[in-house]
Symmetry: C2
Subunit: 170 residues, 2 copies
Amino acid sequence: MAISMASASLPIFRTTLKNLSHILDKGLAHAQARKFDPQVLTVARLAPDMLPLTRQVLIACDGPKLGIARLSGVEAPKFEDTETTIEELKARIAKTLAWLDTVPVEKIDGTEDKDITFPVGREATRTMKGEAYLKHWVLPNFFFHVTTAYAILRHNGVELGKADYLAGAQ
Amino acid sequence: MAISMASASLPIFRTTLKNLSHILDKGLAHAQARKFDPQVLTVARLAPDMLPLTRQVLIACDGPKLGIARLSGVEAPKFEDTETTIEELKARIAKTLAWLDTVPVEKIDGTEDKDITFPVGREATRTMKGEAYLKHWVLPNFFFHVTTAYAILRHNGVELGKADYLAGAQ
Protein backbone atom coordinates (compact mmCIF):
# COMPACT_ATOMS: atom_id res chain seq x y z
CA MET A 1 0.00 0.00 0.00
CA ALA A 2 1.22 3.51 -0.76
CA ILE A 3 2.67 5.54 2.09
CA SER A 4 0.26 8.27 3.26
CA MET A 5 0.23 11.18 5.67
CA ALA A 6 -1.42 8.98 8.32
CA SER A 7 0.83 5.98 7.73
CA ALA A 8 3.90 8.26 7.77
CA SER A 9 2.96 9.72 11.16
CA LEU A 10 0.70 7.71 13.49
CA PRO A 11 2.70 4.43 13.54
CA ILE A 12 5.93 6.32 14.21
CA PHE A 13 4.36 8.21 17.12
CA ARG A 14 2.78 5.08 18.57
CA THR A 15 5.91 2.95 18.39
CA THR A 16 8.23 5.62 19.71
CA LEU A 17 5.95 6.83 22.52
CA LYS A 18 5.62 3.23 23.72
CA ASN A 19 9.40 2.94 23.61
CA LEU A 20 9.69 6.17 25.60
CA SER A 21 7.39 4.71 28.24
CA HIS A 22 9.59 1.61 28.34
CA ILE A 23 12.71 3.76 28.67
CA LEU A 24 11.13 5.56 31.64
CA ASP A 25 10.38 2.15 33.20
CA LYS A 26 14.07 1.36 33.03
CA GLY A 27 14.89 4.72 34.63
CA LEU A 28 12.51 4.01 37.50
CA ALA A 29 13.85 0.47 37.96
CA HIS A 30 17.40 1.81 38.00
CA ALA A 31 16.57 4.36 40.72
CA GLN A 32 14.81 1.71 42.79
CA ALA A 33 17.68 -0.77 42.43
CA ARG A 34 20.21 1.86 43.48
CA LYS A 35 17.85 3.14 46.19
CA PHE A 36 17.83 6.79 45.08
CA ASP A 37 14.83 9.03 44.60
CA PRO A 38 13.59 8.76 40.98
CA GLN A 39 12.98 12.51 41.10
CA VAL A 40 16.74 12.89 40.72
CA LEU A 41 16.20 11.64 37.19
CA THR A 42 13.05 13.62 36.35
CA VAL A 43 14.80 16.93 37.11
CA ALA A 44 18.09 15.93 35.43
CA ARG A 45 19.40 17.98 32.48
CA LEU A 46 22.27 17.62 30.02
CA ALA A 47 23.14 21.32 30.40
CA PRO A 48 22.01 23.94 32.93
CA ASP A 49 19.96 25.75 30.29
CA MET A 50 18.43 22.69 28.70
CA LEU A 51 15.04 21.34 29.75
CA PRO A 52 14.90 18.54 32.33
CA LEU A 53 13.63 15.02 31.67
CA THR A 54 10.08 15.93 32.70
CA ARG A 55 9.76 18.63 30.05
CA GLN A 56 11.45 16.51 27.39
CA VAL A 57 8.78 13.87 27.89
CA LEU A 58 5.90 16.37 27.95
CA ILE A 59 7.10 17.98 24.72
CA ALA A 60 7.60 14.53 23.17
CA CYS A 61 3.92 13.89 23.97
CA ASP A 62 2.60 17.23 22.78
CA GLY A 63 4.41 17.16 19.44
CA PRO A 64 2.40 14.26 18.00
CA LYS A 65 -0.80 15.48 19.69
CA LEU A 66 -0.60 18.99 18.26
CA GLY A 67 0.80 17.80 14.94
CA ILE A 68 -2.02 15.33 14.36
CA ALA A 69 -4.62 17.84 15.62
CA ARG A 70 -3.43 20.47 13.16
CA LEU A 71 -3.19 18.08 10.23
CA SER A 72 -6.54 16.38 10.89
CA GLY A 73 -8.50 19.37 12.15
CA VAL A 74 -9.60 17.27 15.15
CA GLU A 75 -9.37 19.24 18.37
CA ALA A 76 -6.84 17.85 20.83
CA PRO A 77 -7.45 17.65 24.57
CA LYS A 78 -5.51 20.16 26.65
CA PHE A 79 -3.36 18.62 29.36
CA GLU A 80 -2.12 20.69 32.28
CA ASP A 81 1.60 19.82 32.40
CA THR A 82 1.57 19.09 36.13
CA GLU A 83 3.46 15.79 35.85
CA THR A 84 6.49 15.44 38.11
CA THR A 85 6.96 11.68 38.66
CA ILE A 86 7.90 8.93 36.25
CA GLU A 87 4.52 7.29 36.85
CA GLU A 88 2.77 10.54 35.93
CA LEU A 89 4.91 10.92 32.82
CA LYS A 90 3.97 7.38 31.78
CA ALA A 91 0.30 8.23 32.32
CA ARG A 92 0.70 11.29 30.10
CA ILE A 93 2.18 9.11 27.35
CA ALA A 94 -0.75 6.68 27.74
CA LYS A 95 -3.31 9.54 27.52
CA THR A 96 -1.58 10.82 24.39
CA LEU A 97 -1.58 7.38 22.78
CA ALA A 98 -5.27 6.93 23.66
CA TRP A 99 -6.17 10.22 22.01
CA LEU A 100 -4.14 9.44 18.88
CA ASP A 101 -6.20 6.26 18.53
CA THR A 102 -9.41 8.30 18.29
CA VAL A 103 -8.34 10.38 15.26
CA PRO A 104 -9.78 9.03 12.00
CA VAL A 105 -7.01 8.11 9.57
CA GLU A 106 -8.97 9.63 6.69
CA LYS A 107 -8.78 13.06 8.33
CA ILE A 108 -4.98 12.89 8.27
CA ASP A 109 -4.60 11.43 4.80
CA GLY A 110 -4.64 13.94 1.96
CA THR A 111 -3.33 16.82 4.07
CA GLU A 112 -0.03 17.13 2.15
CA ASP A 113 -0.91 20.57 0.77
CA LYS A 114 -3.00 21.86 3.66
CA ASP A 115 -1.70 25.12 5.14
CA ILE A 116 -0.74 24.52 8.76
CA THR A 117 -0.22 27.59 10.94
CA PHE A 118 1.36 27.05 14.33
CA PRO A 119 3.00 29.12 17.06
CA VAL A 120 6.78 29.54 17.04
CA GLY A 121 7.96 30.95 20.32
CA ARG A 122 5.58 33.22 22.19
CA GLU A 123 4.83 35.90 19.66
CA ALA A 124 5.10 34.49 16.16
CA THR A 125 3.40 31.94 13.97
CA ARG A 126 4.68 29.99 11.03
CA THR A 127 2.79 28.44 8.14
CA MET A 128 3.93 25.34 6.30
CA LYS A 129 2.24 22.87 3.98
CA GLY A 130 1.10 19.70 5.75
CA GLU A 131 3.76 17.42 4.33
CA ALA A 132 6.62 19.83 5.08
CA TYR A 133 5.19 20.45 8.55
CA LEU A 134 5.19 16.71 9.30
CA LYS A 135 8.65 16.02 7.84
CA HIS A 136 10.57 19.14 8.78
CA TRP A 137 8.89 20.18 12.00
CA VAL A 138 6.86 17.53 13.81
CA LEU A 139 9.06 14.48 13.22
CA PRO A 140 12.46 16.14 13.89
CA ASN A 141 11.10 17.78 17.06
CA PHE A 142 9.52 14.55 18.25
CA PHE A 143 12.67 12.48 17.85
CA PHE A 144 14.75 15.29 19.34
CA HIS A 145 12.86 15.19 22.63
CA VAL A 146 12.61 11.39 22.83
CA THR A 147 16.33 11.03 22.15
CA THR A 148 17.18 13.76 24.67
CA ALA A 149 15.07 11.98 27.31
CA TYR A 150 17.00 8.79 26.50
CA ALA A 151 20.31 10.67 26.67
CA ILE A 152 19.50 12.24 30.05
CA LEU A 153 18.81 8.80 31.53
CA ARG A 154 21.81 7.21 29.82
CA HIS A 155 24.07 10.02 31.03
CA ASN A 156 22.81 9.31 34.56
CA GLY A 157 23.79 5.66 34.42
CA VAL A 158 20.55 3.98 33.34
CA GLU A 159 21.38 0.88 31.30
CA LEU A 160 19.77 1.64 27.98
CA GLY A 161 20.70 0.47 24.52
CA LYS A 162 19.49 1.06 20.99
CA ALA A 163 17.15 -1.92 21.39
CA ASP A 164 15.20 0.04 24.01
CA TYR A 165 14.82 3.01 21.69
CA LEU A 166 13.83 0.86 18.70
CA ALA A 167 12.06 -1.80 20.75
CA GLY A 168 8.75 -1.78 18.98
CA ALA A 169 10.17 -1.78 15.46
CA GLN A 170 8.40 -4.52 13.52
CA MET B 1 1.22 16.12 -4.38
CA ALA B 2 0.90 12.85 -2.48
CA ILE B 3 3.64 11.94 -0.05
CA SER B 4 5.90 9.19 -1.40
CA MET B 5 8.77 7.04 -0.20
CA ALA B 6 11.26 9.46 -1.80
CA SER B 7 9.54 12.61 -0.55
CA ALA B 8 9.26 11.07 2.95
CA SER B 9 12.98 10.37 3.10
CA LEU B 10 15.36 12.40 0.91
CA PRO B 11 14.25 15.92 1.97
CA ILE B 12 14.45 14.94 5.65
CA PHE B 13 17.97 13.58 5.23
CA ARG B 14 19.12 16.60 3.22
CA THR B 15 17.74 19.19 5.62
CA THR B 16 18.94 17.45 8.75
CA LEU B 17 22.41 16.58 7.45
CA LYS B 18 22.90 20.23 6.48
CA ASN B 19 21.79 21.23 9.95
CA LEU B 20 24.24 18.74 11.45
CA SER B 21 27.04 20.33 9.40
CA HIS B 22 25.97 23.75 10.72
CA ILE B 23 25.91 22.40 14.30
CA LEU B 24 29.48 21.13 13.84
CA ASP B 25 30.47 24.60 12.60
CA LYS B 26 29.21 26.05 15.85
CA GLY B 27 31.18 23.46 17.80
CA LEU B 28 34.36 24.37 15.95
CA ALA B 29 33.76 28.11 16.39
CA HIS B 30 33.17 27.57 20.11
CA ALA B 31 36.45 25.69 20.52
CA GLN B 32 38.34 28.36 18.58
CA ALA B 33 36.77 31.19 20.60
CA ARG B 34 37.63 29.48 23.88
CA LYS B 35 41.04 28.47 22.52
CA PHE B 36 40.74 24.75 23.21
CA ASP B 37 41.51 21.89 20.83
CA PRO B 38 38.35 20.98 18.86
CA GLN B 39 39.37 17.32 19.25
CA VAL B 40 38.13 17.64 22.84
CA LEU B 41 34.67 17.82 21.28
CA THR B 42 35.08 15.10 18.66
CA VAL B 43 36.01 12.50 21.30
CA ALA B 44 33.40 13.68 23.83
CA ARG B 45 30.69 11.27 25.00
CA LEU B 46 27.55 11.55 27.13
CA ALA B 47 28.43 8.34 28.97
CA PRO B 48 31.63 6.28 29.07
CA ASP B 49 30.02 3.45 27.09
CA MET B 50 28.28 5.66 24.54
CA LEU B 51 29.87 6.50 21.19
CA PRO B 52 31.79 9.80 20.86
CA LEU B 53 30.77 12.69 18.63
CA THR B 54 32.83 11.38 15.70
CA ARG B 55 30.94 8.10 15.57
CA GLN B 56 27.57 9.77 16.10
CA VAL B 57 28.21 11.86 12.99
CA LEU B 58 29.48 8.93 10.92
CA ILE B 59 26.45 6.82 11.81
CA ALA B 60 24.15 9.79 11.11
CA CYS B 61 25.71 9.86 7.62
CA ASP B 62 25.59 6.13 6.98
CA GLY B 63 21.96 5.71 8.02
CA PRO B 64 20.54 7.69 5.08
CA LYS B 65 23.18 6.31 2.70
CA LEU B 66 22.48 2.68 3.50
CA GLY B 67 18.75 3.25 3.86
CA ILE B 68 18.42 4.86 0.45
CA ALA B 69 20.77 2.30 -1.12
CA ARG B 70 18.66 -0.59 0.18
CA LEU B 71 15.35 0.97 -0.79
CA SER B 72 16.48 2.09 -4.25
CA GLY B 73 18.76 -0.82 -5.12
CA VAL B 74 21.45 1.71 -6.07
CA GLU B 75 24.85 0.71 -4.72
CA ALA B 76 26.27 3.16 -2.19
CA PRO B 77 29.93 4.17 -2.06
CA LYS B 78 31.90 2.72 0.82
CA PHE B 79 33.61 5.30 3.01
CA GLU B 80 36.47 4.32 5.28
CA ASP B 81 35.47 5.91 8.60
CA THR B 82 38.85 7.55 9.14
CA GLU B 83 37.46 10.98 10.04
CA THR B 84 38.75 12.50 13.26
CA THR B 85 38.42 16.28 12.87
CA ILE B 86 35.35 18.47 12.57
CA GLU B 87 36.46 19.50 9.07
CA GLU B 88 36.67 15.84 8.06
CA LEU B 89 33.26 15.13 9.56
CA LYS B 90 31.80 18.01 7.58
CA ALA B 91 33.40 16.62 4.41
CA ARG B 92 31.81 13.24 5.14
CA ILE B 93 28.41 14.90 5.42
CA ALA B 94 29.04 16.70 2.12
CA LYS B 95 30.03 13.43 0.38
CA THR B 96 26.90 11.77 1.71
CA LEU B 97 24.69 14.63 0.51
CA ALA B 98 26.36 14.53 -2.91
CA TRP B 99 25.67 10.81 -3.26
CA LEU B 100 22.04 11.16 -2.16
CA ASP B 101 21.59 13.67 -4.99
CA THR B 102 22.58 11.03 -7.53
CA VAL B 103 19.87 8.52 -6.61
CA PRO B 104 16.87 8.69 -8.97
CA VAL B 105 13.69 9.48 -7.06
CA GLU B 106 11.75 6.93 -9.09
CA LYS B 107 13.94 4.12 -7.73
CA ILE B 108 12.89 5.02 -4.17
CA ASP B 109 9.22 5.60 -4.89
CA GLY B 110 7.06 2.51 -4.84
CA THR B 111 9.30 0.57 -2.45
CA GLU B 112 6.72 0.44 0.36
CA ASP B 113 6.31 -3.34 0.14
CA LYS B 114 9.84 -4.26 -0.95
CA ASP B 115 11.56 -6.69 1.41
CA ILE B 116 14.62 -5.01 2.88
CA THR B 117 17.17 -7.26 4.59
CA PHE B 118 19.88 -5.57 6.62
CA PRO B 119 22.47 -6.50 9.25
CA VAL B 120 21.58 -6.13 12.92
CA GLY B 121 24.68 -6.40 15.06
CA ARG B 122 27.51 -8.57 13.75
CA GLU B 123 25.83 -11.90 13.20
CA ALA B 124 22.16 -11.38 12.40
CA THR B 125 20.00 -9.87 9.71
CA ARG B 126 16.51 -8.51 9.85
CA THR B 127 13.94 -8.16 7.10
CA MET B 128 11.30 -5.45 7.02
CA LYS B 129 9.02 -4.06 4.33
CA GLY B 130 10.37 -0.84 2.80
CA GLU B 131 7.87 1.49 4.45
CA ALA B 132 8.35 -0.01 7.91
CA TYR B 133 12.12 -0.02 7.42
CA LEU B 134 12.08 3.70 6.62
CA LYS B 135 9.70 4.69 9.43
CA HIS B 136 10.73 2.37 12.23
CA TRP B 137 14.40 1.88 11.54
CA VAL B 138 16.09 4.43 9.30
CA LEU B 139 14.36 7.61 10.49
CA PRO B 140 14.47 6.90 14.26
CA ASN B 141 18.13 5.87 14.02
CA PHE B 142 19.02 8.90 11.95
CA PHE B 143 17.43 11.40 14.31
CA PHE B 144 18.87 9.55 17.29
CA HIS B 145 22.45 10.10 16.14
CA VAL B 146 21.94 13.69 14.98
CA THR B 147 20.29 14.60 18.28
CA THR B 148 22.99 12.84 20.27
CA ALA B 149 25.66 14.76 18.35
CA TYR B 150 23.79 17.98 19.21
CA ALA B 151 23.48 16.90 22.85
CA ILE B 152 27.20 16.11 23.15
CA LEU B 153 28.09 19.60 21.92
CA ARG B 154 25.39 21.27 24.02
CA HIS B 155 26.53 19.37 27.11
CA ASN B 156 30.03 20.69 26.43
CA GLY B 157 28.93 24.29 26.40
CA VAL B 158 28.38 24.96 22.70
CA GLU B 159 25.63 27.54 22.30
CA LEU B 160 23.03 25.67 20.30
CA GLY B 161 19.29 26.06 20.21
CA LYS B 162 16.39 24.36 18.52
CA ALA B 163 16.74 26.80 15.62
CA ASP B 164 20.12 25.24 14.79
CA TYR B 165 18.61 21.76 14.73
CA LEU B 166 15.60 22.83 12.66
CA ALA B 167 17.42 25.52 10.70
CA GLY B 168 16.59 24.32 7.22
CA ALA B 169 12.88 23.80 7.88
CA GLN B 170 10.92 25.55 5.16
